[in-house]
Symmetry: C2
Subunit: 257 residues, 2 copies
């Protein structure tokens, strides 16, 4: 069992260090992670410049890129001849629930795993009174142990969030829905020019069955994800629209059918 | 009718210039776009540094951030009192289909629109023999005109791709599936240190009904998207797993229920 570990808080973060140590009990662990914090980088790929991968110690590699870059360099270069059985990303400092998963570098690393055909799990820790990366790492390793007890489907993509306190249980949940809008704070620099900070305190729809609700309720949330963003219901709705839209071509004088 | 226009190729690109000009026939256009290319930045948000927004000319604003940043600054600051009815992103230089939509800054701008409650449409242009941004911009405006002819639902999120040649029709499609793996190219710099490029030529599953298939067939592909990545089938499958996973807590000595 070989496990690739990455994150978006950077290779020197406490979350990844404790996670890697616990996972090392289950198999060979290789860490390939950003050399600095890459939070909110989403599913971004570095294409316009080359990347460096520096070996820090046996099995630990720092990359000057995003978590998605790390997964690519690991799977397609470093571990090309010895592919991992599983990618584990985290433990993120702060929750990654609901609408926020697409901003998250931690979760996006698992998207890349799925695209490259490697089962992947993301772990994130709520940060407030009583939180403990040590406890989260221990529980993460136990969860991974259960998952790998059976053959793991290639399309496995799990997003796991730990509550701050001692967890009351495990809940399989769907993604929640944010209701707050981000806010933008406008300030003026010493030279009189405006600058802007993106900010905002998340507020969530209270809705049973969601990841955010599970964590609020003191439970570990486990949400299976997939990458087919097609809105199939929308496809039916918009279907009736097709004929009309097709008309936009008919009246194009340059058109040759 | 007020339309916010953004992209990921940067505010000086041909695609956004021609698109904004065509959309100006339909209503008031405000362009808020990155000051340089931001391709493959995915749904990334700049949180660790402040952003600048520079007015280039009437209705044109350049931001030193990602497309997602641009949408936030536009909706939550610049246009806070005069919100747009629609966000249009593009026209991207190159297709954004299938698995690749989550890397795309162009499409991610529409994700941000959806999260902020503004209907959004992304346009991308296949770049090969016979492509024309002028034709794509004209057709994009016609498509937008059809969409806004009726009240637009807040959750409208359309991903549109134009084929390189004269389009043969409009196809409502689902996201296709890539089969190629990215590749990583390893090189050595003049000082003997390795560096890496992420590369790769996409190959696609031949599957009727997909966006990539539609464009291959010379048609305009229109794909409705949504942001609920929950794998509901997976939720059923993993449901049976819940009891076993819950056991990981039961045997945790630190646990207090």
């Amino acid at each position: 069992m070989r496990i690739l570990v990455t994150n978006d808080d950077g290779i020197y973060s406490e979350g990844i260090r404790l996670l890697a140590a616990e996972l090392a009990r289950l198999g060979e662990v290789v860490v390939v992670a950003p050399d600095r914090e890459q939070s909110a980088t989403g599913h971004s790929l570095t294409l316009s410049r080359p990347l460096r991968m520096q070996r820090l110690e046996e099995g630990w590699y720092a990359v000057d890129g995003t978590p998605t870059d790390c997964v690519n360099l690991a799977i397609l270069s470093l571990l090309r001849d010895t592919p991992p059985d599983l990618i584990v990303s985290g433990i993120n400092f702060g929750l990654n629930v609901g609408d926020d998963v697409t901003y998250s570098g931690t979760v996006s690393a698992t998207f890349e795993g799925a695209i490259l055909g490697v089962p992947s799990i993301a772990f994130s820790q709520e940060v407030s009174e009583g939180f403990s990366f040590a406890r989260a790492a221990r529980l993460a390793a136990r969860l991974v142990q259960e998952v790998i007890a059976e053959p793991i489907p290639r399309d496995t993509l799990l997003n796991v969030n730990f509550p701050a306190g001692e967890p009351r249980g495990v809940v399989f949940s769907r993604l929640g829905k944010r209701v707050y809008r981000q806010s933008v704070i406008e300030k003026v620099d010493p030279r009189g020019r405006k600058y802007y900070w993106i900010a905002g305190t998340p507020e969530w729809q209270e809705d049973p069955g969601t990841d955010h609700g599970a964590v609020q309720n003191g439970c570990i949330s486990v949400t299976p994800l997939h990458l087919d963003l097609t809105d199939y219901r929308g496809l039916e709705t918009w279907g009736g629209f097709a004929g009309r839209i097709d008309g936009i071509l008919g009246s194009d004088p340059a058109r040759a059918r």
